[in-house]
């Protein structure tokens, strides 16, 4: 593939964006006014306590019933993809942490592996194990944050503090490993920069024994709680077929009964060496998504335990040239981030910077399902569904 063709295929068209199609909202006066009631259009966000950041949802309501929604995004747009085109491969690495900032390690893993694939190098086994341990810890942290905020949205205040207490322990491990708690920049292209600190394995094992009963504690507050059941069962139902049509991935897809997990389907890092299950749901409602994520937390613990026990000795950095100049070509690599399939599509023109870098963010794609899921439900359910989709606006807007 020559440089010219690459540039032509992937040039972003710069013609004017057509006006947004809002016909599905029926914002004009209803054709058949019944009694003299009319629809209410309210604006939820971008400053709203339950939209998890700066999501703006325009709701069309009949009383409290939702007739239609429209998500307005972009309030947190930083042009991450464009920045990627203006940085070298190494320099761009920390930027990806700022997309899904509650699962920064997963973002970094996806990016590093994509570039490695492009360079055709492989990280050493030990690095892969460290990557798995940290990524799974991060998945746990992300799910804990999700659980706390989701429960808070539905009115249960207390789980938030429990989950944050336990998430703190994970962040402490991150901090000890690489100095940062949230935007960790834990991995490098070709492996890991840092060797594990002394006592890392022990600390992780201690954490595993510490957190297992805590997950039961969260479940005790919610799983069989009548109010929780009523608020989540049959709320925001989406079928597996709809999920696939919309490109929804992650726990949302699995709760609808589709057994798709990138860790199993296209194993990356060291995942093929571990024994774990993919929890799935049946009904595709908010409660199933809750159960799936709770089960995933436990599966993560299983993976971490196996990884810590089987961590091999050896180098942590692969043979990567000082100046990263991948050959001309393109690559798509995806991993299973806590929120779904996180993909990186990188087009290289043979220079030190990507020619085009595209991120497939799970939050952004999953957010599309909001409208399908909330039609006909009540305002309170919109909040529950936004919570259950587990979106991070940093990733949606990029």
């Amino acid at each position: 593939m020559s440089d010219e063709t690459v540039k032509d295929t992937h040039r972003i068209s710069s013609h004017a964006v057509p006006p947004r199609d809002r016909s599905h909202l029926h914002l004009e006066a209803p054709e058949k006014p019944h009694l003299d009631s009319n629809e209410l259009i309210i604006n939820m966000g971008p400053q709203h306590p339950a939209t998890h950041g700066v999501l703006r949802v325009i709701l069309k309501l009949d009383g409290e019933k939702v007739l239609g929604t429209e998500c307005v995004i972009g309030y947190l747009h930083r042009g991450v993809e464009k920045i990627g085109e203006n940085r070298t491969y190494t320099m761009f690495n920390p930027y990806v942490d700022r997309m899904d900032y509650v699962a920064a390690v997963s973002n970094g893993l996806g990016y590093c592996e994509a570039v490695e694939k492009l360079l055709n190098v492989e990280a050493p086994a030990r690095a892969k194990y460290i990557r798995v341990i940290l990524t799974e810890l991060n998945r746990l942290a992300s799910h804990q944050l999700w659980l706390g905020t989701h429960a808070l949205d539905i009115g249960a205040m207390t789980p938030l503090f429990y989950t944050f207490r336990d998430r703190e322990e994970i962040l402490k491990i991150f901090e000890k490993y690489c100095g940062a708690r949230l935007t960790t920049h834990a991995f490098r292209i070709g492996g890991c920069q840092y060797e594990t600190y002394a006592g890392f394995e022990k600390e992780v094992k201690n954490f595993l024994t510490f957190v297992a009963p805590k997950i039961d504690e969260y479940e005790e507050l919610l799983t069989t709680n009548r109010i929780w059941l009523e608020r989540t069962k049959n709320v925001g139902v989406i079928s597996g077929a709809d999920c696939m049509a919309l490109g929804v991935t992650g726990p949302v897809l699995r709760a609808s009964g589709v057994k798709w997990d990138v860790r199993k389907a296209q194993p990356y890092a060291a995942y093929s060496e571990f024994d774990f299950e993919i929890p799935t749901g049946e009904n595709g409602d908010t409660y199933d998504r809750y159960l799936v994520r709770m089960a995933e937390m436990r599966q993560s613990l299983r993976i971490i335990e196996q990884a810590v026990n089987g961590i091999p000795e050896g180098p942590i950095m692969g043979k990567v040239p000082k100046v990263i100049k991948p050959p001309v070509g393109e690559i798509y690599h995806s991993i299973e981030a806590p929120k779904g399939e996180l993909g990186y599509f990188i087009v290289s023109d043979g220079s030190t910077q990507p020619y085009r870098l595209r991120v497939r963010p799970p939050s952004f794609v999953n957010l599309q399902a909001l409208d399908v899921m909330v039609r006909g439900l009540l305002v309170a359910d919109v909040i529950a569904v936004i919570g259950t989709l587990d979106i991070v606006l940093g990733e949606v807007d990029r």
């Binding site: 209410l40 306590p49 009115g155 608020r231």
Partner: protein, 430 residues
């Protein structure tokens, strides 16, 4: 005037019934100040208790253990800019919190803190209470409407629908309690709040345990309805923070907002007082008929003093556990002074219990009696306040339609059934 003042001290009727305007006025002031203080205390206690449920410390900085936090909050709220949205209906916006506050405080005129420790003993006391407390919804509707904004409007509509529906279940369970008052020798019941407590004393049983489990079911339905009526978790749809930002008072700020808070907490205390009066024997101490020897009277009269002694002990432990660092010096001294005050209060009450031991009608004995009544009443109400906080910390929030379903399809049939069964059982038993 002094004569009138002193002569009433010996009477055993409420100032309202004795037509003693002066004492009635004094009672009104005491209750107003007391309830306001209780709201402040409740504010602090809720934040602390909720924090401890949630593995936090809660307010710790303003005063020792955040004891001065409510005062700091009050000052902050008073100093805040008073915003009235341009598009709002100015007058209605202004009057809405006042309506809520008036409704919440007027209820206290019929609440008996003791047989004569009430502003008035109305013969339709419970009806008056139900009527006035449901006026509170007017303040909320009007606030939501006057704000001229979507979120407050939805909050207000939810709230009014909720309060109106739960009023019915609440009323029905109240009726079954009122019905229980009539199962005595002469077969006449009473609607007077004082009369209801008296009849529990005469029948020798709290209505909570009467016709077990009928009284209990009526009580539980009343408690559920009263939580919904006061818009508290898990029925706090009207101000569902995560859904409607702040519900009907989204547009309110500063002092006006604090009036809403004041009336919400005052209403909570009011409905808890009603529950206590109807089912938990109001001012009666435990087992007033069974353990009625003077010795028992004396033992029970020690309780107020002992409670304060316990509080003082907790405060002193707090002093001892405070870090010895010099920056905590003022806080430590402050808490020690507070503990000492509580200790003095305890000593005073214990002295009074000893001095007023004889069953004669000396001033000390009367005073001791009055304090006992108020103490038991407040203790029972405080348990309800704790229940409110406990529920808020534990449960998620119901959805609006589920709330209505519970009100109409669950609580109403249950209360109706209990009412009918109470009547049948009562007739068969007597």
């Amino acid at each position: 005037m002094l004569n009138q003042f002193m002569s009433y001290l010996g009477s055993n009727v409420t100032p309202g019934s004795a037509n003693n305007q002066l004492w009635a006025l004094i009672y009104v002031f005491i209750i107003f100040a007391g309830v306001s203080l209780a709201v402040v205390a409740m504010n602090w206690f809720e934040r602390k208790a909720l924090a401890h449920f949630q593995i936090r410390l809660g307010p710790m900085r303003v005063g020792p253990h955040g004891l001065l936090q409510p005062i700091a909050d009050a000052i902050k709220l008073m100093l805040k800019e008073d915003i009235i949205p341009q598009e709002a209906d100015q007058f209605v916006f202004w009057i809405a919190p006042v309506i809520g506050l008036l409704a919440a405080f007027t209820v206290y005129t019929v609440i008996p803190f003791g047989p004569s420790q009430a502003v008035s003993d109305m013969n339709i006391g419970i009806l008056f209470m139900l009527g006035v407390s449901s006026l509170g919804v007017l303040g909320i509707v009007v606030a939501g409407w006057a704000s001229n904004s979507h979120y407050p409007l939805i909050g207000a509509l939810r709230s009014s629908a909720q309060m109106v529906s739960y009023e019915i279940a609440m009323g029905m369970s109240v009726v079954s309690a009122v019905l229980m008052t009539s199962f005595n020798k002469d077969g006449t019941g009473t609607l007077s709040m004082i009369g209801i407590v008296r009849s529990q004393q005469d029948q020798g049983i709290w209505f909570l345990f009467k016709f077990f489990p009928l009284g209990l079911v009526a009580f539980v339905t009343f408690v559920i309805a009263m939580i919904a009526e006061t818009n508290r978790a898990p029925f706090d749809m009207a101000e569902a923070e995560s859904e409607l930002t702040a519900g009907y008072h989204t547009e309110y700020s500063g002092l006006r907002w604090s009036l809403f808070m004041l009336s919400e907490y005052a209403a909570m205390i009011a409905v808890s007082s009603i529950a206590v009066t109807l089912w938990l024997g109001g001012w009666l101490r435990p087992f007033p008929n069974l353990l009625h020897a003077p010795a028992w009277d004396f033992i029970f009269s020690l309780f107020p003093g002992l409670t304060f002694l316990g509080l003082a002990a907790i405060a002193f432990i707090g002093v001892a556990r405070m870090p010895a660092h010099f920056s905590f010096k003022i806080q430590r001294i402050g808490l020690a002074v507070f503990a000492a005050l509580l200790g003095c209060m305890a000593l005073l009450l214990l002295l009074l219990a000893v001095a007023g031991r004889s069953a004669d009608s000396s001033i000390a004995a009367r005073f001791r009696e009055g304090i006992d009544y108020v103490y038991w009443f407040i203790l029972k109400v405080a348990l309800f306040m704790y229940l409110f906080i406990w529920l808020r910390a534990t449960w998620p929030r119901y959805r609006f339609d589920q709330l209505m379903r519970i009100g109409w399809k669950v609580l109403l049939p249950i209360t109706l059934g209990v009412l009918v069964l109470t009547a049948i059982v009562g007739v068969l038993a007597s």
